[in-house]
């Protein structure tokens, strides 16, 4: 039997959780699901698991990772579980790592596939997806997290049964707990949701140089991104950074200007449908990951694109 941790937001199971469910179901046997916190019962009704467990407790209004781990470890049907699968979100990964320590088990983070058996054969990502690792996991209870956006989500459906329970939580499980929530700032296109992202790299040359990047992004209703070379130079804030240690983006088109195409940068743009590179160097590594390219100085190319967009709009 497998157990899948299902996260939910505003009463709806997250896509990443339903993708993790697909991997769990592929391991064979019954798949059970666990939903934690307020709103869990409504969410449970949409998950096609044999049994959906809903953990309810007053202390679960605010996220408390040790409490989540305690619940994962003390599930009513824990004894029969041979795999616990969770989405690779920050929250679920944190809770799974804590559960792994409590259970004395290894944790395989960021898997993209798993073949049942003991050892379990799995493929997980390294370097933010620039490299894959095939591994054997030797354990009776495998703990896995699943990379978001690589597997199809399971279609919503009715569960076989829903079982609500109140977990026992120790004071120590509530020491680390969200005390305060600061709401997101209003307005603007977020980098992670934008349909068009125009990024400037070191080739932009200065903070002021970004006006040509901002202009094009503005005309296309898109967001501005940057490379780490730019962040480190203090030209843009880290919140604009795309890459392994920055934002993971998934636009219709990614316009990367003055960016060489280091694997750690491209790791953040794997979700992009198309990449257009603007670079003075026709041999730059980005030329072999981009779909389209313009060879030239971005300070000439970008204003010309913006002017052409304006001209056609009349």
């Amino acid at each position: 039997m497998n157990l899948c941790l299902v996260e939910h937001l505003d009463g709806v199971a997250t896509d990443a959780s339903l993708q993790a469910f697909t991997l769990a179901a592929g391991l064979g046997g019954e798949t059970h699901a666990l939903v934690i916190g307020p709103g869990g019962a409504e969410v449970a009704a949409t998950i096609p698991a044999a049994v959906v467990y809903v953990a309810e407790h007053d202390a679960l209004d605010a996220f408390a990772p040790d409490a989540w781990a305690a619940i994962l470890c003390a599930m009513p049907s824990r004894t029969g579980v041979t795999a616990i699968v969770a989405p690779g979100s920050a929250r679920a990964t944190d809770a799974m790592a804590r559960a792994a320590v409590r259970l004395g088990e290894p944790l395989a983070a960021n898997c993209i596939s798993a073949t049942p058996g003991n050892p379990l054969l799995l493929t997980r990502i390294r370097w933010g997806g620039s490299l894959l690792e095939e591994a054997r996991l030797h354990t009776d209870c495998a703990l896995l997290t699943v990379v978001p956006h690589t597997l199809p989500a399971v279609a919503p459906g009715s569960p076989g049964a829903v079982e609500r329970f109140t977990p026992e939580l120790a004071d120590a499980d509530l020491v680390v707990r969200v005390r305060e929530r600061v709401a997101p700032p209003a307005g603007g296109v977020s980098l992670t949701d934008a349909k068009v992202v125009v990024t400037g790299g070191r080739g932009v040359g200065s903070a002021e140089g970004f006006v040509v990047v901002e202009e094009l992004a503005g005309l296309l209703g898109g967001a501005v991104g940057c490379s780490r070379a730019v962040t480190m130079s203090g030209w843009r804030p880290h919140t604009d950074q795309v890459g392994q240690t920055g934002n993971k983006i998934a636009p219709e088109i990614y316009i990367a200007c003055g960016v060489s195409g280091a694997t750690q940068h491209i790791a953040g743009a794997k979700g992009a449908k198309r990449i257009l590179a603007v670079n003075t160097d026709p041999e730059a590594p980005i030329m072999s990951v981009a779909d389209y390219a313009v060879v030239g100085d971005l300070h000439e190319v970008l204003p010309a694109i913006s002017a052409e967009l304006r001209r056609r709009r009349g």
Binding site: P65, A90, D94, R98, A100, V101, P106, N110, P119, L121, T123, I125, R126, W127, G129, L131, L132, E133, E134, A135, R136, L137, H138, T139, T145, V175, V176, R177, R179, E180, P184, S190, L220, G221, G222, H238, T239, Q241, T245, E252, I253, I275, P285, I286, M287, S288, V289, D291, Y292, A293, V294, V295, G296, D297, E300, A304, I305, A307, E308, L309
Partner: protein
């Protein structure tokens, strides 16, 4: 304030990853080495905390003899001393790594007092296990918050922040604590020339732990397929503008 920060030496791959013939590692013959940007921010934060509150910052790595380079880099930025758990270069899994770090922490605390704060990267740059910091925290019985973008030590309080869904989650932890941090926490300084000179003379303690067997056994590494294509050249310089706008219209992102 006594702060410890744990860093891992990793190769700096460029535009393409090349594997060794046995597919067990990255071919590093022509590569430089670094630590994860998350860990760089951890080093910077540890140094700043000690600058603000007094005390001592210590940097630790488990890695091959050459990983001394990463310890010296951290000392050039301001870490006061280093702990090197020397390996033969074989990769250690997170359970094993955490075990060795815990033993080193306990030994250091016995000799020179407890660490108020132990900082980790949220995930290592190469293997991305997302767990070493938590394993150490549990073994030491200390609270741990992960993926932090802000930390502030006040009078008897420790406030830290995580970004989530565009907003922020605020935690307050008792000290001593363990944290895992993300790039963006601060803007790390570049080492100065005198900083580099001083780093060479700072104390470094080395020991050689035993590597236990791993239950997460690597079979081989694989470079993902479809990484290599040849971009279609739409044009050169400003003359390409018209072809680019044609493409944008075709995709339907111009209105």
């Amino acid at each position: 304030m006594k702060a410890l920060v744990c860093v891992k030496r990793v190769p700096m791959t460029g535009g393409r990853i090349v594997l060794t013939d046995d597919e067990q590692a990255i071919e590093t013959k022509h590569l430089g080495f670094a630590i994860s940007p998350h860990e760089e921010c951890g080093v910077e934060e540890a140094v700043r905390l000690v600058e603000a509150h007094g005390g001592e910052s210590v940097v630790l790595t488990l890695g091959p003899p050459d990983a001394e380079e990463q310890l010296r880099d951290a000392m050039a930025i301001g870490a006061d001393r280093g702990i090197h758990l020397v390996t033969d270069g074989e990769e250690w899994d997170p359970e094993a790594t955490a075990g060795a770090i815990v033993a080193a922490v306990i030994a250091d605390e016995t000799a020179s007092g407890p660490f108020d704060l132990i900082l980790f990267g949220n995930e290592s740059a190469d293997s991305g296990g997302f767990q070493t910091g938590l394993r150490v925290a549990y073994a030491l019985g200390r609270p741990c918050a992960t993926g932090l973008k802000a930390v502030a030590v006040g009078d008897g309080s420790f406030r830290c922040e995580q970004e989530e869904g565009g907003g922020r989650n605020v935690y307050e932890l008792p000290l001593p604590a363990v944290v895992t941090v993300l790039e963006g926490l601060n803007l790390p300084r570049y080492p100065s020339v005198p900083g580099r000179m001083r780093a060479g003379r700072k104390p470094l303690e080395a020991s050689t732990p035993e590597r236990p067997a791993s239950r997460l056994e690597r079979a081989r590494l694989v470079v993902p397929a479809g990484e290599s294509k040849q971009a279609e050249i739409l044009g050169h310089g400003a003359d390409a503008a018209s072809a680019v706008v044609d493409l944008l219209e075709q995709i339907g992102v111009t209105s």
